[in-house]
């Protein structure tokens, strides 16, 4: 049986207690997007500033959620700030791969080895244990899906 220490790593609890980039940005000019986990009622709000070079110059996180969704959002905000949307796309794919979510598995195609971008996950590695608690994977990915939607909308 996976233990609680697999799920609630110290660094996760640290991000939960001291969330990074918590707050709001004036919108507009910032892009604001909301994400919901319909299963549990968690809500997240992502505020994004993108510059002309498609770089995330600032990001803020609002909303409410459990320790896993909040810490994932906090780590995400720290990891993507200052990076281009292409780099963020690679990071998102690497993070989701760690969560056992592969784009190929969503397309109904036979599962093939996925060419993963060479990305360092850093602190985000701490969320690897979430895979052992499948119900909580949606908690960990909520912020990422919301960010992806925000980027799509901001560039549209």
């Amino acid at each position: 049986m996976p233990g609680l220490e697999d799920l609630y790593r110290e660094i996760i609890l640290d991000h939960y207690r001291n969330p990074r980039n918590r707050g709001e940005l004036d919108s507009p000019p910032a892009h604001r997007v909301e994400g919901f986990n319909p299963l549990c009622g968690d809500e997240i709000v992502v505020y994004l500033d993108l510059d002309d070079e498609r770089r995330i110059t600032d990001i803020r996180i609002g909303g409410q959620g459990c320790s896993i969704s909040q810490s994932s959002a906090s780590m995400m905000s720290a990891a993507v700030k200052g990076h281009t949307v292409e780099e963020v796309g690679d990071l998102t794919r690497a993070f989701k791969a760690m969560m056992s979510i592969h784009e190929s598995s969503l397309g109904g195609e036979a599962a093939e080895p996925v060419e993963l971008p060479d990305v360092k996950l850093g602190d985000l590695e701490a969320l690897r244990g979430v895979v052992k608690f499948p119900v909580r994977i949606k908690c960990a990915t909520l912020a990422w899906n919301t960010l992806a939607q925000g980027i799509d909308e901001a560039l549209a």
Partner: protein
């Protein structure tokens, strides 16, 4: 204060095989009966025996076991009729679940009787199953929804009830909140609705499994409830309705069983209750539900309510004594006004995290919005943790909940 129960809970627990299992090498503490109840051997055996010895489609064949299957199904209907004191089996309609029962009312009665501007009165403590079907009718017909507000302690605020009901066609409310545990004054509500010229619909999902139900005494026009919350299987629910209304209503789902005649140019409906039971029904589940109401009747619904009243008193007192201001239990504090459903906030822990840690102690509680998002919004929370009890729970289960909460508090101590 001595707490007594009229139930022999040890004997009752022995009737529920699942309660003897372990989770993570720890005996299970099941505190989620508001989501679904566990099933006694009597129900499992009845369903098993049906499949092993009787299985045939109902209302069709003339051969022996087909007639036996039909008789068993209709015997279950009579058991349910007696359980809720309906005046006729014609008024007992088997559905898939309470959600389907409520949708049946809205789609059949609602579409036949409601037009733009007509008013339907709901409350702030409704389950999504008693909200969304009405929203769908708002979109289709332009009906108007009005909402009974709540008092700060989670009861219906009826101070403006007459004004809310003024000109209304429908009052549809829950008899007991699945979040707050509040027992609503159903008779007062149905009387007020009738006085205003509105029909009344009662969501009995949480009340029917836990309190004696007499649909005639409730004064309602429709009562919906599910089988799986009252020791029966999933896949079967009940709609009770007054025969006069059911007779006048158009059918809901079309197909076999619900017809008397089908021609190239149309069809004629079957009699009640089969008019609303298109297709092969959930035969084994209906028979299982019959066994469940027999089981509950044998124990006694008043005794079950008395047992849960005792557990409610014990739970409220134990959690307050052990955690003081660190715990906030939503809903009324008087056990006379509530059933054994306890939504709570504990320290600043998120319900998901509470539920996760409790699971390590084999304590099963629900975390989430409980399909009552408008109520969550009113309460100013995204989710709650919820423990709920039934006839097989004991004060030891509540002690285990408190111990596990203490451990959760320590784990997340900042």
């Amino acid at each position: 204060m001595a707490l007594t129960t009229p139930l022999d809970v040890d004997a009752i627990r022995a009737d529920f095989p699942l309660l003897s299992r372990t989770v993570h090498d720890t005996p299970i503490v099941y505190l989620d009966s508001a989501a679904t109840s566990q099933k006694p051997t009597a129900v499992l055996d009845a369903m098993d025996a049906y499949y092993r010895t009787v299985n045939a489609n109902v209302h069709r064949g003339v051969y022996f076991i087909a007639e036996q299957a039909t008789n068993d199904l209709e015997a279950a209907r009579e058991k349910v009729r007696r359980f809720i004191n309906a005046s006729s089996v014609s008024e007992v309609i088997f559905t898939k679940n309470a959600t389907e029962s409520l949708n049946l009312i809205v789609q059949s009665w609602g579409r036949a009787n409601l037009a733009a501007g007509d008013v339907v009165v709901l409350s702030h403590m409704e389950h999504h199953a008693n909200i969304v079907p009405w929203h769908m009718l708002v979109a289709e017909r332009g009906i108007e929804l009005r909402w009974i507000p709540l008092t700060p302690d989670g009861r219906l605020d009826l101070s403006d009830l007459d004004a809310l009901l003024d000109g209304a066609k429908v009052l549809s409310v829950t008899a007991m909140s699945n979040v707050l545990g509040t027992l609503n004054p159903v008779r007062q509500l149905t009387d007020a609705a009738r006085a205003a010229g509105a029909i009344s619909i009662i969501d009995g999902c949480q009340s029917v499994p836990h309190t004696a139900t007499d649909v005639q005494a409730l004064g309602a026009d429709f009562v919906a409830f599910s089988g799986h919350k009252l020791c029966g299987p999933t896949g079967v629910g009940v709609l009770w309705g007054r025969e006069e209304l059911l007779t006048a209503m158009p059918p809901f789902i079309g197909g076999g069983e619900m017809i008397r005649d089908v021609r190239l140019d149309g069809f004629t409906c079957n009699d009640l209750p089969w008019k609303f039971e298109a297709g092969t029904p959930a035969i084994a589940e209906i028979i299982g539900l019959g066994a469940a109401v027999d089981y509950l009747t044998g124990i006694g619904m008043d005794a079950i309510r008395a047992h849960e009243h005792m557990l409610t008193e014990y739970t409220l007192r134990t959690l307050a004594d052990r955690f003081g201001p660190d715990i906030a239990i939503h809903g009324p504090s008087d056990p006379d006004l509530r059933g054994g459903v306890f939504s709570f906030a504990f320290k600043d822990l998120h319900p998901h995290d509470i539920s996760q840690i409790l699971d390590q102690h084999a304590v099963c509680v629900r975390a989430g919005h409980h399909c009552a998002k408008p109520l969550m919004k009113l309460m100013g929370v995204g989710a709650t943790a919820r423990a709920s009890v039934y006839l097989y729970n004991t004060t030891a289960d509540i002690d285990a909940l408190a111990d596990a909460l203490e451990s959760a508090g320590a784990f997340f101590a900042f």
